[in-house]
């Protein structure tokens, strides 16, 4: 679907966020970028979204151009003045699609995340997990082939997080989308991904890759399998090796 070759990013303040990153995103996979903070995983994600330009190297898209993309941030990033319905309408509205014409897509997207009954609610009336569901519905409303997620569940409690992990895997299977997911949680990355790219900081780079061969979607029982345990150990090991000596303190 996408290949990043020799991609680098240096900011104007001299910080090198990424150095010569080579990464392929394959159609239909669930790819997780796992790494300590400051390793440039968010920068790589923003680059794929086209929100920041590489200062070296290039991105090559399979179809020749960037496809429709859904993006989910660490915070729900909803417009507080708009109802849930109008928040999910936003991507369509910016394309000039009227509320009436968009209604069916919006209702579908809200049903996908289990919030069909909350269309009229305002964001502040919702819990953190529900807000994140609205954010996911908004990212899915255009049915993008590629979904980018930047630590979307990091601020949620573990019960909500596990539930959203399962829902995300179900959505991914239903929609057949490719997902690139950023996290610093080893367990989350192993549970969700078909492939993990472990990154190291200063400068940001990929140090190893781990495949998780179990089919999607997975259930809670996957957390007790030997494969899950083995991959968690491998990912933790890779993450430890990726840390520089001062990070380990």
């Amino acid at each position: 679907m996408l290949a990043l070759s020799g991609v680098g990013k240096a900011f104007s303040n001299g910080i090198v966020a990424l150095a010569a990153l080579d990464l392929e995103v394959r159609r239909g996979e669930f790819l997780t970028l796992l790494g300590p903070s400051g390793c440039g995983k968010s920068t790589a994600l923003r680059m794929i979204a086209g929100l920041t330009e590489p200062s070296a190297g290039a991105l090559t898209w399979a179809g020749g151009e960037r496809p429709e993309i859904g993006f989910v941030f660490q915070e729900p990033t909803l417009m507080p003045w708009a109802s849930v319905f109008n928040n999910v309408w936003l991507p369509l509205r910016l394309r000039g699609i009227s509320k009436a014409a968009a209604a069916a897509s919006i209702t579908d997207a809200l049903a996908l995340v289990g919030l069909a009954d909350f269309a009229k609610a305002y964001p502040r009336e919702l819990s953190g997990g529900m807000k994140m569901r609205v954010s996911i519905a908004r990212a899915l409303v255009l049915r993008p082939p590629l979904l980018l997620m930047d630590e979307p569940f990091a601020a949620l409690d573990e019960i909500t997080r596990f539930k959203l992990n399962d829902d995300l895997l179900r959505l991914k299977s239903e929609l057949g989308a490719t997902v690139v997911f950023v996290t610093h949680s080893v367990y989350e990355s192993v549970y969700l991904s078909t492939r993990i790219a472990v990154m190291a900081a200063r400068p940001g780079r990929i140090v190893s890759q781990i495949l998780i061969e179990a089919p999607l979607p997975r259930g809670e029982e996957f957390r007790t399998t030997a494969l899950y345990n083995e991959r968690c150990r491998a990912a933790s090991q890779a993450l430890m090796e990726a840390l520089s000596p001062e990070d380990r303190l």
Binding site: A49, G50, L51, F73, W81, P91, R95
Partner: protein, 268 residues
């Protein structure tokens, strides 16, 4: 008062009744002191005399009130149009903001009472009064709206970029709604200031201002030692100020009640 009491219905009734009781007690005390000590009405008029003056002089006073209201609201309207317009212009380019913002600050920090005499010379008096009221109301609206337009969630800005939103869409759908609470804060301050500006400028214009606003009535009545009328005019000014404040508070509540933290009612 405890938070719990404030939240309950009884607490809210007390919030209204207590200030009214204090007010009535103060007025009664004032009336009593004036009567017992026989203070002449050209020094301190009794509240009852102020009230009857308000009624008997109503034809004159209402005309002046109307003039002051017209100046206040024309100035506020101009300040909203100018302040919001300039803030939107600032939001388009940092260079424009850097070039013009210092002048807005200079206009703000120079006391209007010091500029008023000059304006009276350069402009015809009604325009000068209007200009003074505009100058004081303009800045809080400009600075608050500028701050609000710049305060849109940066992730939302990215999201708009991702979906290919135009600058216009970003302004209408994101920056203006995000700026609304800030703008309304500026409007509440600016509304009160435009009344103050209108009064101060009319006093500064003095005899040059053939205007007939409430401030002119106060100056004129002071010369004639007609204290009951001075107090009656003061009452009208205070009531106008309170009404403006309450109106914008209500407007803020109606526009923001669904989403902004400032009008959130907590369950305790």
């Amino acid at each position: 008062m405890s938070e719990a009491a404030r939240g309950s219905a009884g607490g809210r009734v007390l919030d209204v009744i207590l200030p009214i009781l204090v007010f009535l007690a103060a007025v009664a005390g004032w009336e009593a002191v004036v009567r017992i000590r026989n203070i002449p009405h050209y020094l301190v008029p009794a509240p009852s005399l102020v009230a009857t003056t308000l009624v008997s002089d109503w034809p004159t006073l209402s005309g002046s009130l109307w003039v002051t209201l017209k100046v206040t609201f024309s100035a506020l309207f101009a300040a909203v149009v100018g302040g919001v317009g300039l803030a939107i212009l600032f939001a388009q380019s940092r260079w424009i903001e850097r070039s013009f913002y210092p002048f807005a600050v200079i206009l703000q920090v120079t006391p209007v009472i010091a500029i008023a005499p000059l304006l009276v010379i350069y402009l015809d008096p009604p325009t000068a009064v209007l200009a003074c009221a505009f100058i004081v109301a303009f800045f809080p609206i400009l600075s608050n709206t500028t701050l609000g337009l710049a305060s849109a969630d940066h992730n939302l800005v990215d999201l708009f970029k991702l979906y290919g939103a135009s600058r216009w869409q970003q302004l209408i759908r994101l920056r203006l709604p995000a700026a609304l609470p800030y703008f309304l804060g500026g409007l509440r301050v600016g509304g009160g200031l435009s009344l103050i500006g209108a009064i101060v400028a009319e006093i500064a214009a003095g005899t040059a201002g053939q205007g007939s606003g409430l401030a002119f009535r106060i100056v004129e009545s002071t010369f004639r030692q007609n204290m009951p009328r001075v107090f009656a005019a003061l009452v009208l000014i205070a009531v106008t100020g309170i009404t403006i404040f309450l109106f914008f508070t209500l407007l803020t509540h109606l526009l923001l009640r669904h989403w902004h933290e400032s009008v959130r009612r907590r369950d305790t």
